[in-house]
């Protein structure tokens, strides 16, 4: 549905987006990650046709966003970063205006507005003006506007920003449900959101894609992925050296002293299988009391920090 090829955007000397390529198909939810100013919003604005690219091609549903903007824009629903809405209009009036611009009239317009109000839980404020709404409601009003025409493509710039935890959960559930039938791109700072919602994630830094894969694949790149975390009930000082003697064990890092908690890294990252079992067998033989023993999946925030700040070593 969405094809982005070698997209570049220069603002004067600044290269805001510097050669980004990816595709998103129907049924995919793509998470867009990156530090502030990495070029996430700029990329989304180019996909939605708000700003023209300096170089490169964006096509949505086969329509080039620059050459056939109207056809492409018809397919897209867009939630901009600041969730703007006309402040003097009522929620219902605003949604009706957007529905009309989307070509809906009469009964179709009314039912689209009703459906969007229901999906975004706006019923209680439908007749209030936008300026009287709290931030969460205003955000949801703009969210409702983006799905009013049931678009095939949904682009959302930080859709959960400024929402309370319950609302965040609702919005995530909504995105995941809609992602079954649509092509969705959304940007976020919240890494747990990526794991909860996305089928794929892209990490972008200084205008370039630095990682692209499923959340599980990305977590594999974490330095702690495949390591085994062990917590002891009671322990003596010899455990460290005994652990290092187990076949396949590389480094043993102490995370805490009482109770003693260690992270055991495999010698080679790919040969992590069986490490937990080997440690368990040793523990049984030595009669260690274990409180916890598990293989770590790796953490997205470790990956995020290690690839977006290459100069700093990731900390545990």
């Amino acid at each position: 549905m969405i094809r982005v090829q070698e997209l570049r955007k220069y603002f004067g000397q600044t290269k805001a987006v510097n050669g980004v390529s990816f595709t998103v198909e129907k049924g995919e939810v793509l998470g867009f990650l990156g530090p502030n100013g990495a070029g996430k919003s700029t990329t989304m604005r180019m996909i939605t046709g708000f700003i023209p690219p300096t170089e490169g091609v964006v096509s949505v549903g086969g329509f080039d966003v620059v050459d056939q903007p109207l056809q492409a824009k018809r397919l897209i629903g867009y939630l901009p970063e600041s969730a703007p809405a006309y402040s003097e209009m009522s929620v219902r009036g605003f949604l009706g205006f957007i529905a009309e611009l989307r070509g809906l009239r009469g009964g179709a317009k009314r039912s689209a507005v009703d459906r969007a109000i229901e999906m975004c839980f706006l019923g209680s404020v439908a007749h209030q003006t936008v300026e009287t709404l709290s931030k969460g409601y205003r955000h949801r009003t703009c969210f409702a506007q983006s799905i009013i025409h049931d678009p095939e493509v949904l682009i959302m710039d930080e859709p959960t920003e400024g929402l309370d935890p319950n609302q965040k959960h609702e919005v995530r559930t909504l995105i995941r449900r809609m992602g079954e039938r649509k092509a969705i791109i959304f940007s976020t700072h919240i890494l747990e959101e990526v794991e909860a919602v996305c089928s794929r994630a892209i990490i972008i830094d200084r205008g370039r894609i630095v990682a692209n894969g499923t959340p599980a694949e990305l977590k594999q790149r974490s330095h702690s992925a495949g390591a085994v975390r062990v917590q002891f009930g009671q322990s003596d000082s010899s455990v460290g050296s005994k652990l290092s003697q187990i076949a396949g064990v590389g480094e043993v890092v102490t995370l805490g002293q009482s109770p003693l908690t260690v992270r055991v890294f495999p010698k080679e990252k790919n040969a992590a299988e069986g490490l937990a079992r080997a440690i368990g067998e040793t523990a049984a033989r030595e009669r260690w009391q274990l409180e916890e023993l598990h293989t770590e999946e790796g953490r997205l925030d470790d990956v995020f920090r290690s690839i977006t700040l290459p100069d700093t070593k990731p900390t545990t």
Partner: protein, 268 residues
């Protein structure tokens, strides 16, 4: 290709064109409706209309001496319009695009399946309609002058047409300056300055002064760019196509420049 298929293709193309024009008008109308609702749901339209009517009345009756003249004509009424509009029209137009930029709704509006032209024309027309409504509400002065004497109502009609076109020209300039900045005060001042320039180059006290320094034909050429020249000529009751064309080209040029400014903002 057979003739039948060719006709069919042409018919299809015509149909698509038809759909596109009606779609464009529908989009413009949607935007006009929203803008009008915005004006009348906020105090802006009411405040503007009341102040316009008060000031128009004040200038007509107190300053221009409507009664003292002893003539059945609306000349003292229209005489002040270029000066009255000079501040009131930029006040209406200053928020047209700067507000969209400040609220961020421009990003919403321009990612809808409409062309920037439809948005520009729709927003302009809505504000022009508000100005037109304010102008229409001055009808009591027409009734008064008809009650007191026997004015040439043809001249009054052309006077109104000229005044409406003048308001449109000012408004298009305010639309252009509001696209330049998200600061409404800056947008207002720029619009006033540009409109003032267009007034002064044709204002007789200024042109009389200029004649001393420059060739008369040069002064005349410059003053033909002034709104005053064309407004006064329409106000005399002569609906010359050149005067109408002048106002329409000021509007067209300003709105075109608005579209260029908006595009260059987005291009970065």
């Amino acid at each position: 290709m057979s003739e039948a298929t060719l006709t069919a293709i042409q018919a299809q193309a015509a149909e698509r064109r038809g759909v596109r024009t009606s779609g464009a008008l529908a989009h413009i109308w949607t935007i006009v409706k929203r803008e009008l609702a915005g004006y009348f749901e906020s105090p802006i339209a009411y405040v503007f209309i009341v102040i316009f009517l008060l000031l128009a009345g004040f200038f007509t009756f107190m300053v221009a001496g409507f009664f003292e003249r002893g003539e059945a004509s609306l000349e003292p009424f229209f005489l002040w319009h270029p000066w009255l509009y000079l501040f009131l029209v930029p006040a209406i137009g200053m928020r047209m695009w700067s507000e969209e930029r400040r609220l961020g709704t421009m990003e919403l509006l321009l990612t809808m399946p409409i062309t920037p032209w439809q948005a520009i024309v729709g927003k302009f027309l809505a504000s022009w309609l508000v100005l037109g409504l304010a102008l229409l509400l001055t009808f009591p002065v027409v009734i008064t002058v008809n009650y007191l004497g026997n004015p040439d109502n043809g001249v009054i009609v052309t006077g109104y047409i000229g005044s409406f076109l003048l308001a449109g020209a000012y408004l298009s300039i305010a639309a252009m300056t509001s696209a330049l900045t998200r600061n409404q005060v800056v947008s207002f001042i720029l619009a006033v300055v540009i409109c003032l320039f267009l007034v002064l180059v044709g204002y007789s006290p200024v042109t009389n002064l200029l004649v001393h320094w420059a060739n008369p034909w040069l002064v005349q050429a410059i003053s033909s760019f002034s709104v005053m020249t064309h407004f006064e000529s329409i106000g005399k009751g002569v609906l010359d196509s050149r005067d109408i064309l002048y106002f329409l080209s000021v509007i067209g040029f300003s709105l075109f420049t608005t579209s260029v400014i908006l595009r260059s903002h987005r291009a970065g």
